[in-house]
Subunit: 185 residues, 2 copies
Amino acid sequence: MQPGKAGARKRTASKGPRRAPRATKPARSPPRTASGAKPARAKPLALGDLSRLLGYSIRRAQLWIFREFSRQLAAFEISPAQFSVLCVIDANPGVNQLAVAQLLSIERAGLGRLVDHLEGRGLVRRTASAINRRYYVLYLTGAGMALLERLRPAVGASDKALAAKIGPRAYKNLQRALSTFVEDA
Amino acid sequence: MQPGKAGARKRTASKGPRRAPRATKPARSPPRTASGAKPARAKPLALGDLSRLLGYSIRRAQLWIFREFSRQLAAFEISPAQFSVLCVIDANPGVNQLAVAQLLSIERAGLGRLVDHLEGRGLVRRTASAINRRYYVLYLTGAGMALLERLRPAVGASDKALAAKIGPRAYKNLQRALSTFVEDA
């Protein structure tokens, strides 16, 4: 939990809420004047419209997966986005940097910074394209390939944790249901 | 597509790639020395390890849904995160601001800014809790309730677009498979 440096435009530090209640019980909130609703203490917050929106479920699942991924890969200091870039370069040696941005829907400047970082760590080599020097093309270095090899079991473990959480049948159903988004990528 | 202001640490503006190829065909890239792979022009980029990771499919689905949501709600200038905050306040009048951050996994400072923005637009009212003045509690204003009422059809349309894209059966399967992430929120 970061100290609230930002977002404090309208309140002074001494007045604003300083501590975030932890754990699963709902944070303190006043008893509601609600029609039949139990006090906040006794039950979790209602999601309202969100509970019926599949888009919300998918967002929650994605946040869970990114947390799990980060946990499994903490030792390697590799984010989900960095991992995905390494995979695409590995599968397409000499790939155009812009094509990677498009394939992964990463904003161009953001991908530039990400590749700078991977290059700085000696994982990726970036050169001007021999065909059109306006474009950069990307390769994994030997170190990049070696790291990817070491990442694979950890990444596999994070996907297995997902399968364990939702069950093997739901996992299969999800794969089928979501394949269309991967094809359209 | 933003001009690449950032991420240009290692290259001059005149040297860096300036234009992103558009459309669905893959961007220009050199022919690969690949073992049996067709040239880049003839087929889309390979996803490598990503194609087998359910986490990647879920990320793609989530990006698609956020784009669709933004398209449907463009006229209202409401982001998915802003919408979710309005929903939770609507369903829990007088809710503690920190509890909203926890429920939606929004970082505390980020939620502070988001609520500042909604308050500035006259959609949300924020007051110190009567029970514990260290906490802020949130209510929708009349304008906030009226806007949420107008958002509902657009949000419903974005979820229907998702159902249309993946098919009604896959939609049901997804709802079932992902319910665990919503309960754990």
